[in-house]
């Protein structure tokens, strides 16, 4: 292996370590090196997105066109219409581009959503509430049914009996109490969901941190230099803040 690729790998690891530490420094204090890293990230993201979009256009548009599929010109023209927004006189034409994309996206989503998101989920909520051979599943199914219906009750903001005024005696009162009970079960069910969600969030965020620290350990010299630089930058930021902040009376 020649020296050049190894040097480039070293440089790549060094830049990665520097950007990691400088971006992390924001948690401690906003500073110039953080801003530099942030703008580098945004710039490269924008350029990267451009290249990826161009690649997608190449694969699904230009290459088929080169192979003789002339009809591909139509979506290419529709795509070019997006750029009409930069010409004030013709900016109204630009609305057709998103309309085309939106129409297709909504069309396919609306077609399959009733079955996949509503019917299948509702049918999965109808569970056997009595399994003589399995008391654990019996309790589980009852809990699940109550939580699902309770949650649906909670998210229903119309047809709220007795909670927004109106009759609260007799049959209406029983109905209101039942509704409130179901809603309370739904809230407690959702607390269980949110508790699990919180725990799950911690796993993910810590995993992200572990990933970054693992990469820093792989480039220790660059990490050390970047760390020293960021300490100086944070010190400079604090010093500047003290100079520009008026003293307290």
């Amino acid at each position: 292996m020649t020296a050049a690729p190894a040097l480039l790998d070293l440089l790549s690891a060094g830049i990665g370590a520097a950007l990691t530490i400088w971006l992390f420094s924001f948690a401690f204090k906003d500073n110039l090196l953080y801003k530099l890293a942030e703008h580098l990230f945004v710039g490269v993201s924008a350029g990267f997105s451009w290249a990826l979009a161009l690649d997608s256009i190449m694969k699904t548009g230009i290459v088929p066109l080169q192979k003789g599929d002339a009809t591909i010109i139509i979506p290419m023209l529709i795509g070019l219409i997006f750029f009409m927004k930069y010409f004030p006189k013709f900016s109204w034409i630009a609305r057709f581009g998103p309309a085309f994309v939106l129409g297709i996206g909504l069309g396919i989503a609306v077609s399959t959503s009733p079955e996949s998101f509503v019917l299948r989920q509702i049918s999965a909520s109808f569970l056997p509430l009595w399994i003589p051979t399995d008391p654990v599943m019996t309790v589980t199914n009852i809990l699940m049914t109550l939580i699902v219906w309770g949650g649906l009750t909670y998210f229903t903001f119309t047809l709220v009996p007795g909670l927004r005024g109106g009759k609260t005696s007799g049959a209406a009162s029983v109905w209101t109490r039942g509704y409130k009970l179901l809603m309370t079960i739904g809230i407690y069910g959702m607390m269980v969901g949110f508790g699990a969600s919180f725990a799950a969030t911690i796993v993910t965020r810590v995993a992200f941190l572990i990933g970054r620290l693992g990469d820093l350990l792989a480039a220790p010299e660059a990490s050390a230099i970047s760390f020293i630089l960021v300490i100086l930058a944070i010190g400079y930021a604090y010093r500047r803040e003290r100079k520009t902040t008026p003293p307290k009376p």
């Binding site: 948690a27 401690f28 990267f48 997105s49 990826l52 979009a53 690649d55 997608s56 256009i57 190449m58 694969k59 699904t60 290459v63 088929p64 192979k67 994309v101 297709i104 996206g105 396919i108 989503a109 399959t112 959503s113 079955e115 996949s116 998101f117 299948r120 989920q121 049918s123 999965a124 969901g193 699990a196 969600s197 799950a200 969030t201 911690i202 796993v203 993910t204 965020r205 810590v206 995993a207 992200f208 941190l209 572990i210 990933g211 970054r212 620290l213 693992g214 350990l217």
Partner: protein, 282 residues
């Protein structure tokens, strides 16, 4: 200022918490402890499902994750590829997110033993990023070769042997959605599972797991792996412990620190609150 106030104010200095978090995780990464772990039912179910796939199984893998998420989901995907390798699979890799092409080479470097045994074009292909989100997913379901003229490396898909057996949604044995978000899960369930009944396996971040559990519960997802713990469990099940297993001790350290802070926060909060209430009632 009472002792409780002083302790609370000290713990409230966020830089101390951040520093402790960094130090603990770094220390454990450099000095792993090697604690044991259990295997959850959901991981075992995914392992058994993949085990039961037929010889020559046709798999579509959506590489839909960013660099940060690779720590959690790449080990799962790597373990699955290692498990499925003896079945001579046909794998079509695609990305419906623009970061996918940046992550695919990392995957190849993570499991070189898999890619060295599979032939590009015959056994596997990577189509790169396809714009359009759900529209792209729906277009893939209707016919990949007609929709995507070349792969991520600029090679024409027209004569690739893999598409003779794995071209439309109905041809595939399973879709493996490796994702850091919930959107592609919804797209594949709406456009592949609902109309064509193609099974979908979910390999996702822990953070999105609760919101996609209903799909597993309703049978719309054939199985689900969530988070670094599931990745570590899967590595243990295939007897190839790797990145995920080695990260679990560091997870423990960070979790314990956060739990201690939550408990301390509440233990300090209640005396302060009762004292405030007492002052107000006077």
């Amino acid at each position: 200022m009472s002792a409780i106030d002083k302790i609370y104010n000290f713990l409230s200095i966020k830089q101390i918490l951040y520093g402790l978090l960094l130090v603990i995780v770094l220390w454990i990464l450099l000095n792993p402890i090697g604690l044991p772990m259990g295997i959850s039912t959901s991981t075992r179910n995914v392992y058994n499902y993949v085990d039961k796939l037929p010889q020559g199984a046709k798999v579509l893998v959506d590489v839909y994750y960013e660099p940060a998420a690779a720590t959690e989901v790449q080990p799962m995907l790597g373990a699955m590829l290692r498990q499925i390798l003896p079945k001579n699979p046909k794998i079509v890799f695609v990305s419906t997110i623009s970061t996918g092409p940046a992550m695919f080479p990392k995957l190849q470097a993570y499991v070189p033993d898999v890619f060295s045994k599979l032939k590009e074009g015959d056994d596997w292909v990577y189509l790169g990023y396809l714009a359009g989100q759900e529209t792209a997913v729906a277009a893939l379901a209707k016919g990949i070769k007609e929709y995507v003229a070349q792969d991520n490396y600029g090679k024409s898909t027209a004569n690739m042997a893999i598409f003779n057996v794995a071209d439309k949604a109905a041809d595939f044995n399973v879709v493996v959605e490796v994702t850091s978000g919930t959107d592609p899960i919804e797209w594949f369930i709406r456009q592949w599972e609902t109309p064509f009944k193609t099974p979908v396996l979910l390999f996702c971040l822990s953070v999105i797991a609760p919101s996609v559990q209903p799909f597993l519960s309703s049978g719309q997802a054939a199985g689900m792996l969530t988070g670094q713990k599931a990745a570590a469990e899967y590595e243990l099940l295939i007897n190839k412990p790797s990145a995920a297993v080695s990260a679990m001790d560091a997870q423990s350290g960070a979790h314990v620190l956060i739990m201690i802070y939550i408990v301390l926060g509440n233990l300090l909060y209640w005396p302060m609150r009762l004292r405030e209430k007492g002052r107000k009632s006077k």
